[in-house]
Point group: C2
């Protein structure tokens, strides 16, 4: 049963409401916070579809909310945007001294190894517990899409590829496409999952795409001046998987853009309009 939400802040923004909530997470075994933008239509009583946004390493629920400038177009289109935190939080939650493991680095997976497995279950949290809370407590429809940045782009692609019936569309900025084969992913997967190739594959977008017949409309933006492109993101491997499988993904290389929120702000409107088209259509691509 979903727990209750506590509203901690609300700001009027483009006629809608930028809200911050806290709640007890059963899945993560700690208190959590998330941000949600409700467009004017939702406040006026019309349930709206939801875009879930997954943030990158070191982020909280606030980065996207403050820096992406998404509220303007979300207000116009009538889209709710939910931004969860990037890991479990609190003094009881194990952590690591580095930015790429532990708090702020949940990688949207269910950890199986101690000491992480008591709290780090962000896959289940984002797929099940958070949407149940949102649906039970806020004026939204059942139609969902998912997007994210970097580690969150990885999370969005993995969640969509494994649950195509749940998301009408997926998009990502600068996603970690192939975490089973990059330093960030190898470190996190080793800590959280141990030496288990099947589990690693289940959280790797490139490997999942090659293994599934599921199709879901996808939009990916990648800056050509991104410092992490060559070593961490492996967009080329995702392009190969898209080509090999006929997956309906549009991968766009954006000349001169980097890994920052200035890049996201520039193209977030395209992503919101992309998701909106699929969220309001009568059926999903494969339906």
């Amino acid at each position: 049963m979903a727990s209750t939400l506590t509203l901690t802040a609300e700001h009027k923004c483009f006629g809608g409401a930028q809200r911050h909530y806290t709640h007890r997470s059963t899945v993560l075994n700690c208190d959590m916070r998330f941000a949600v933008y409700l467009p004017p239509a939702a406040l006026e009583g019309t349930p709206v579809p939801v875009l879930y946004w997954l943030s990158g390493l070191t982020c909280t629920d606030e980065n996207f909310t403050q820096k992406a400038g998404a509220q303007r177009v979300a207000a116009e289109l009538g889209l709710a945007v939910v931004a969860p935190d990037t890991s479990p939080r609190g003094d009881a939650v194990p952590d690591d001294d580095n930015y790429d493991l532990g708090k702020g680095a949940g990688f949207y997976i269910n950890a199986t190894k101690a000491p992480w497995n008591e709290h780090y279950r962000m896959y289940d949290y984002v797929l099940d517990e958070l949407p149940a809370l949102v649906t039970d407590n806020l004026p939204v429809t059942g139609n969902c899409a998912i997007a994210g940045h970097s580690m969150g782009g990885h999370g969005a692609l993995v969640l969509a590829l494994r649950n195509p019936e749940r998301f009408r569309s997926v998009s990502a900025f600068s996603p970690i496409c192939h975490p089973a084969r990059c330093p960030w992913g190898e470190k996190a997967f080793t800590a959280y999952l141990g030496d288990n190739p099947q589990l690693w594959e289940s959280y790797d977008a490139v490997l999942l795409m090659k293994a599934t017949d599921a199709k879901i409309p996808a939009l990916i933006d990648q800056g050509t001046d991104d410092d992490f492109l060559d070593n961490q993101l492996h967009t080329d491997s995702l392009s190969e998987a898209v080509e090999a499988t006929g997956f309906p993904a549009d991968i766009r290389y954006q000349e001169g853009y980097d890994h920052s929120y200035f890049f996201i702000a520039t193209f977030i409107e395209d992503h919101l309009r992309f998701h909106h088209r699929h969220l309001v259509s009568d059926s999903a691509l494969g339906g």
Copy 2:
């Protein structure tokens, strides 16, 4: 003579460049940083007009740059936007334990009292030294406008009222309209200026407006749910001054909005288009 600029960061954003510079400030007697957004037109060789943005208490050059979402419309209109820091900085600069005095709280005035007067000369910095640096080093025209938020709204109004020949237009979000008569202003003016009524008047928008014949187009947005409205901002006093003097100011009360950047993001497009109209016209209102 203007010192040189050191580029510390650059991010492509809406086809233009969000840059951060550091430089030695002679006026402030310390190293300073500022942010500037250059629209695509400027990068392609066409000098563009400049909007100076002054931020509020506790802010740096980053808040507006990251949170206001101004780059989209600045890119479209061909406007450069310069955001200075809100006070002198560095270990040698005196400070106070509270957020509303010392670092982050320069109030855009020239301090006359020790220990503040060796560094806290933000009025001269924003009026003279910074524009000289910008004009000497970046592809901009001589046409300027000025805007700001809260303490920065006070700064923008004061600078424009005292220098109508320098700015084509002025705008503010939630400005401290009457600092000589509110707790924030009384505290800062007492510390920085001492007991000197003439100096206080020279930095108070309400008093300046009543004392000048100068006219400059002004746009002011004030949220009705702003926690500081009753005690600190005194927008009603500015409205009375506008009415008494026929000053060409449009003061808009925005229902339900607060003091945050979510409010600024909602209406920044209006402000940029307002300034652009005056920046590209053949003459200033009184010309």
